[in-house]
Symmetry: C2
Amino acid sequence: MSVTIKDIARLAGVSHTTVSRALNDSPLINEKTKDRIRAIAEEMDYTPNFSAKSLVLDRSYNLGLFFTTLSKGTSAGFFYDAIRGVNSVIQDRYQLIVKGIDDYTSFHSITRKSFDGIIVVSQSDEDQPLIDHAADKGIPLVVLNRPVDTVGVLNVLSDEEQGAFQATSYLIRQGHRNMALIEGRVGFKSAQNRKEGFERALAHHGITLKPSHRFPGLYDLESGYKAMQQFLMLEDRPTAVFCCNDEMALGAMKAISEAGLQVPGDISVIGFDDTVFAAYVTPALTTVRRPIEQISKEGAIRLLGNIENKQYATEQVLLKTELIVRESVHPLQLTGEEG
Amino acid sequence: MSVTIKDIARLAGVSHTTVSRALNDSPLINEKTKDRIRAIAEEMDYTPNFSAKSLVLDRSYNLGLFFTTLSKGTSAGFFYDAIRGVNSVIQDRYQLIVKGIDDYTSFHSITRKSFDGIIVVSQSDEDQPLIDHAADKGIPLVVLNRPVDTVGVLNVLSDEEQGAFQATSYLIRQGHRNMALIEGRVGFKSAQNRKEGFERALAHHGITLKPSHRFPGLYDLESGYKAMQQFLMLEDRPTAVFCCNDEMALGAMKAISEAGLQVPGDISVIGFDDTVFAAYVTPALTTVRRPIEQISKEGAIRLLGNIENKQYATEQVLLKTELIVRESVHPLQLTGEEG
DNA sequence: ATGACTATTGTTAACGTGTGCATAACATGG
DNA sequence: CCATGTTATGCACACGTTAACAATAGTCAT
């Protein structure tokens, strides 16, 4: 079996208590004794048993990273960036446990004992029961990516409504009036925020959107493709399409080129997220950058602070989005009565 | 504090042993007693303390999912598919702990106590020390995506050499002779396998590749772009380019279109992986599909079997790749002396 | 009625670690 | 020389769970 502090104690001719203290660098122990014990531990290749530590210290050394779902509707880039961001912060102090919220049939097993803290990358209101559960159990908690007002819960996100507003305003400044909207997945908060930013920009300029010019997408390539096919059959075909993410924008561009039309010559396309491939499709996609990795880093840092200081600071951190202008939007020649 | 079996025992008027047995559905306990205890446990919202269980049962309920790196060189789609595949298998029996191997400064903390099993999604020979360490410690282990011959280690992967061979043969059948190769990241086994498949196909047809017609890529969009820029400056510009993954293929296509040339009219491009966006770029990318999600599922299933049956079956499972023909390869008019 | 057997429950120790309290050795000050 | 303080260590218990080994009561066959 594996080496324990008792084995070390026997070899060093001290009590296991002394070994425990020595290895935890307690000031109670003589420096020479510490060194001797450390040397023996090293030589015996001692590794602390984390189950035992957890039991007595009441800490699991686990951090939960929960996504709304691991199956559909989460884009790979988003997922990857989020994990990378968190991982870069926690180093080897914690184990990172990745879960899909929709994998749980019951939250019963989620307790203070099993998680020292939880990071919820929330895409939907439907995550609220989990968030409430965790908050209720008193587990330190940070919610990323979606605004939340549960008390005692940290919240880090980007201002997507504002980003969509900016992007749409840009389309309008380029002369577009007849626009279309490919929405995100129903129930996803981001879908709603982006839609609202889009609509606010239209309203701001007194433009109205016909029901025929909106389509409920699923955040995937295929739904963007299908949406665009619909738009292409309209009599008053839009001159510009706002897509609620880059994947759908790519799908839309595919439909346009298959119809023998050009982006942006015939139709302008704008995306959201600034996925890695956005700069490399042809034409390069104009889109809104959202600092996912930064959000998750920021969230992880604050969560760790919260866990270790035991001070529950509720605050919402709002990071800026940024419009990245590339080639997929074309200025429109205005036909006359323009103000 | 939280409810323990002793609390339940007190309320039920039995010993805590009886409660433990009842909740584990031991045949030793009277059915009526079991029901009564279960009811009380339910009502008190009892959750077992996993640290305590782990300590006495010598099982951590943790499964490690290790990637070569979480920083650079792992594509988002690959990462996402791998996690999804494993996650779909383990359900709620284990916690999935995601790690980058290059995050470790020492493997010291990786023991039988901390992981019931480990899945290594290995992209490089440099992972070997970790694999050896885990095998040495007797941790049930499965290595995905890279061939490995350590004894007692499960191994699931796809035959990438064969996939590359097929894809290249297809290019040759379409009449291409002047080809170029954008290689994968140095040190990544997949890069080597794909290159070898490519070279075998060339050798099979007596075609030689000039040094100027190969470029070491990094598996990312940018390196594909740069590689293609190099090729475009050559006097004997290739008519077809084999890219070791789809990202680099997309980068290459970008460079081609920026140079005012057409894919596949002027230059044919072929990729590898069949990433989600491959079908949606324009032109749609011809590529080799690799069943990543299936590989990870298969690996996870076998690993769980191994953990639970304690039978160490060493076997290598090789899954097939598949050539997906789309639009990015054009048949070449042959100029005469062809056999 | 006695011993053996079965069904059910309890007693006690164990897993590996950390900690409050006691203890011993030794120094310090008056 | 004694009271007090300081430093270094050990003892015993605790954390929540499982399991080997009693123990008890009831049943059955002889």
